[in-house]
Subunit: 216 residues, 2 copies
DNA sequence: GCATGGTGGATACTGTAACTATCGGATAGC
DNA sequence: GCTATCCGATAGTTACAGTATCCACCATGC
């Protein structure tokens, strides 16, 4: 399989494939004979599909994809660390974090819920900082109001995380498991976001409009 | 309050404020005397803080911010429609959606869960398409495996949406309510994502490592 | 045995997004 | 009156994600 075939199968322009090769997202094909004839296999198609999903649907940047793929490919990186690597990349913020009153309050609130639910998470988990940043921003712009959702969110993500781990645990192969965890986490965020909008619409409809005629 | 003051208070460079004015994100200050002396008030500070949160923490693009702000400011736009407007902007995809087997399956699955939970959502809600797209991408890259989480996700977002609506309903003023819904939805996605990582770490830790010494 | 066209690799270019810098004229406050 | 600041417009900058072009080289069908 040469580039043009890979391009056809995966639906990605050749120029873009070359770009991904340059950027180290996609391993180079085996240069069988010599010099300028490399051959690509099924693994390249998989990887390319993965990259496209992360970029197009997951919204990751190229450098973010490079990072997480490197983590996938390194057998020494534990799973939760790989997922942690996606945090800083999905939420681009974290730059020049202001240490104001809002942030202090957010730190306290996150600490409270982590303790209350008995979560065993390291104090310096990147996701923890991300959560603090978002919560601080909520306070900054919306006052106290928004913090009241925190407990419900925490219970909801426990449900989600249990399901996530069930799915990931069921995969025997290490590489496939890492890939599953990655895709499930990155795309899962967006799936959750879309479902949340639907659920909001539903809840809003049931609360504020008369119920539809019963259909038993 | 002139631009430089606004800049100091909100922590945003003057040049950037001018850019936002140009782009119509921020209403121009009242041009009190005439021509070149405009004055800004507390509302501008609020709006500027809101914009920065949506951009920096929420990750929205400038054009997306313009769209949702226009929806906020228009009293005729119903709440769920405003939130729907954020869907297409957060998930940039939707371009050249392939109608392959994966998508067909995703459509069926979303239809199934919506029916199963009795969700009252319109068939052409933007969030529905977004969910279908993401689910199709999951199938494309990860096979059947990932779809098993769907039911758990649906139950989780019901919890979340109830909490969201509780919070929003508690706000009396229409404008503040719209703003709360917007911020809660956009930033809420990221808060949920970060909390989800934490919960994943916790669940992973409790499943695969010995329990910590008890501290009753 | 040789023309044709695809290949790998390098380099240069394009388009978009989000600012950032400069400029010309006006005006505020001393 | 003088200087600092302001407004508005225009032009420039940086980063990102590709695209496009070039060129020497293989490989294969005639």
């Amino acid at each position: 399989m040469r580039v043009s075939d890979l391009s056809t199968v995966a639906g990605v322009p050749v120029a873009t494939i070359k770009y991904y090769l340059r950027e180290g997202l996609l391993p180079r094909g085996e240069t069988t004979t010599s010099a300028n004839q490399a051959s690509y296999g099924q693994a390249h198609v998989r990887r390319l599909t993965l990259i496209r999903s992360l970029v197009d649907v997951g919204g990751l940047s190229i450098s973010a994809v490079r990072k997480v793929l490197a983590a996938i490919d390194d057998p020494d990186v534990p799973l939760h660390e790989m997922l942690g690597a996606t945090v800083g990349t999905v939420t681009p913020g974290a730059g020049a974090t202001e240490h104001d009153e809002y942030r202090a309050q957010a730190v306290a609130e996150i600490g409270r819920v982590v303790d209350a639910r008995g979560w065993r998470v390291s104090a310096d988990a990147p996701a923890r900082d991300a959560a603090v940043d978002v919560l601080a921003a909520m306070h900054r712009v919306g006052g106290e109001r928004l913090a009241t959702v925190l407990d419900a969110y925490v219970r909801a993500v426990e449900l989600v995380a249990e399901a996530d781990l069930d799915t990931v645990s069921a995969v025997p192969d290490r590489d496939v498991r890492a890939e599953t965890a990655l895709v499930g986490t990155v795309l899962g965020d967006h799936l959750l976001a879309a479902l949340r909008r639907l659920a909001q619409e539903h809840v809003s409809a049931t609360r504020f409009t008369p119920p539809p005629p019963e259909t038993p």
